[in-house]
């Protein structure tokens, strides 16, 4: 009994020693020297591994920053604080991180967009609506108003306003792009926060249909594209801004009948005005809708 016990201990102990020795030798031979800065930069990063920088994760980003193949301000989530930290570690002057925010490129809320004759009563999730019936709005391209982007946002930066449209709170938005992925209609895009003008429509409908289904649709008339010297290009009946050549001064904003292309600050203002007008004359609004 005692002998068995000793043999067992000797066997496991011996095996352990042999393997430990082999590993110790292997460790000496195969050791990889790693720049200690990589670990420090990695600690300074948010650590969410969200991939918003385009790298495989925070560690991969740290490696590339230390190599110099990626700029220090490449992490949109960390913002200016992270850039300063990384700059301190690497001993380089900090650049300015461009803040990236999500932009909802549809203004067709419950007021502006025409509703179907039938009412959608299924689960209030955009993914379902998009898959099953397209929700209760006639437009096949616009916001469904189900709030999938709101659910996807871990920073509480998106909420649905009373018009059923998502609104982004710039101060809370980190530009991680979770809402972009969540949106089944690809309405949300990431843009630098200083961009002021957008085409708030994704509809490729022909002009007649576009006018019928939404008051604020881009009808594809192309007037902004003709005046913009290449700043706006027409893609399959939709005006798309080419950010490299874009100059807001050349855009004839008052010529866009539906104000599909407009300043961001006006996008929500107009909605507020319409809301006020509707409250002032609710009866007139209803008759208008019936005529349509």
């Amino acid at each position: 009994m005692d002998l068995n016990f000793l043999i067992a201990i000797a066997t496991m102990g011996g095996l352990g020693f042999v393997f430990a020795g082999a590993l110790a030798i292997a460790d000496k031979k195969l050791r990889v020297e790693e720049d200690p800065k990589i670990a420090q930069v990695n600690d300074a990063l948010p650590g969410a591994n969200c991939g918003a920088c385009g790298k495989a994760g925070c560690y991969d980003f740290a490696v590339n920053v230390v190599n110099g193949s990626v700029p220090m301000n490449g992490c949109p989530v960390g913002g200016q604080d992270t850039v300063n930290d990384i700059a301190a570690i690497l001993g380089i002057e900090a650049g300015v991180a461009t803040k990236i925010v999500a932009r909802v490129l549809c203004r067709g809320g419950n007021i502006e967009a025409a509703q179907k004759m039938v009412e959608y009563r299924g689960p209030q999730s955009c993914a379902t609506m998009h898959l099953v019936s397209g929700g209760s709005k006639l437009c096949q391209y616009g916001c469904l108003g189900g709030g999938d982007c709101v659910d996807a946002c871990t920073f509480n930066a998106i909420h649905l306003n009373e018009n059923g449209l998502p609104e982004v709170i710039d101060d809370l938005c980190t530009g991680c792009g979770m809402c972009v992925t969540a949106c089944p209609r690809d309405i949300i895009e990431l843009h630098p926060a200083d961009r002021e003008v957008f085409v708030f429509c994704k509809s490729h409908d022909d002009p007649k249909t576009a006018k019928e289904v939404c008051d604020v649709a881009c009808t594809g008339c192309g007037i902004c594209a003709r005046k913009s010297d290449g700043g706006v290009i027409m893609e399959d009946g939709l005006a798309v801004i080419d950010w490299d050549n874009f100059d807001p001064d050349k855009i004839p904003f008052d010529k866009c009948k539906n104000s599909a292309i407009c300043f961001l600050k006006d996008a929500y203002k107009q909605h507020v005005e319409e809301e006020a007008a509707k409250e002032a004359a609710p009866a007139a609004e209803v008759t208008d809708e019936q005529k349509n």
Binding site: T11, M12, D27, L30, R31, V32, A56, Y59, A127
Partner: protein, 192 residues
């Protein structure tokens, strides 16, 4: 001839992943890209081959003569853990990108039941030393085959219009199930 049969049996007919359902974790986890799945298969094959050799030696030269066969589980796990540690160091030295791509699944080969399963099967089937080597090679080849097929299919799936509810893990598990069904077609062809 018998050695070839053992190899084919372990690789295809009694494929560790698709017939015994061993080693599912890396099979699902690292199979999203062929470029990381195939090296993962090779790493696992390497560990399997060395495990087969070392555990056979330990079992027949130490455990059996000293009558401590009850130590087989703990000593086999010791072997697997050490070998995986070695492979991890080796890959980190040779290819940093591959090391990062394999990530947590590389150390997790340690707890990969396919490896321990291999060592125990060799004992169970009472293979000779050469047979054990071929069995280990076959099992590794089978694992590489399965994970590479899976990665190939998943790369194509990236382009397919999968309903959102099925995207990611669900469709992967369905594909794995269908693959296992397909491999069932080999069942009983060789019984070694």
């Amino acid at each position: 001839m018998e050695l070839i049969l053992i190899f084919i049996s372990a690789a295809i007919v009694n494929n560790f992943v698709l017939a015994y359902f061993l080693g599912i974790c890396p099979f699902i986890g690292v199979s999203n890209k062929l470029s990381s799945a195939f090296p993962m298969g090779l790493a696992t094959t390497f560990v399997m081959l060395l495990t087969a050799i070392v555990t056979w030696l330990i079992y027949h030269l130490i455990l059996v003569p000293y009558d401590v066969v009850y130590l087989q589980y703990v000593s086999f796990i010791l072997v697997v853990a050490s070998l995986v540690q070695f492979v991890e160091m080796f890959i980190k030295k040779v290819s940093q990108p591959l090391y990062r791509a394999l990530g947590i699944f590389l150390p997790l080969i340690t707890t990969n039941c396919a490896i321990l399963g291999l060592a125990l099967f060799i004992v169970l089937k009472d293979y000779s030393f050469v047979q054990a080597i071929f069995y280990g090679l076959g099992a590794g080849a089978g694992f590489t085959l399965a994970i590479s097929i899976m990665a190939g299919i998943r790369e194509e799936l990236e382009l397919a219009n999968v309903p959102r509810a099925f995207q990611g893990a669900p469709i992967t598990l369905i594909v794995a199930g269908l693959l296992a069904l397909a491999f069932m077609g080999f069942a009983g062809m060789i019984s070694v």
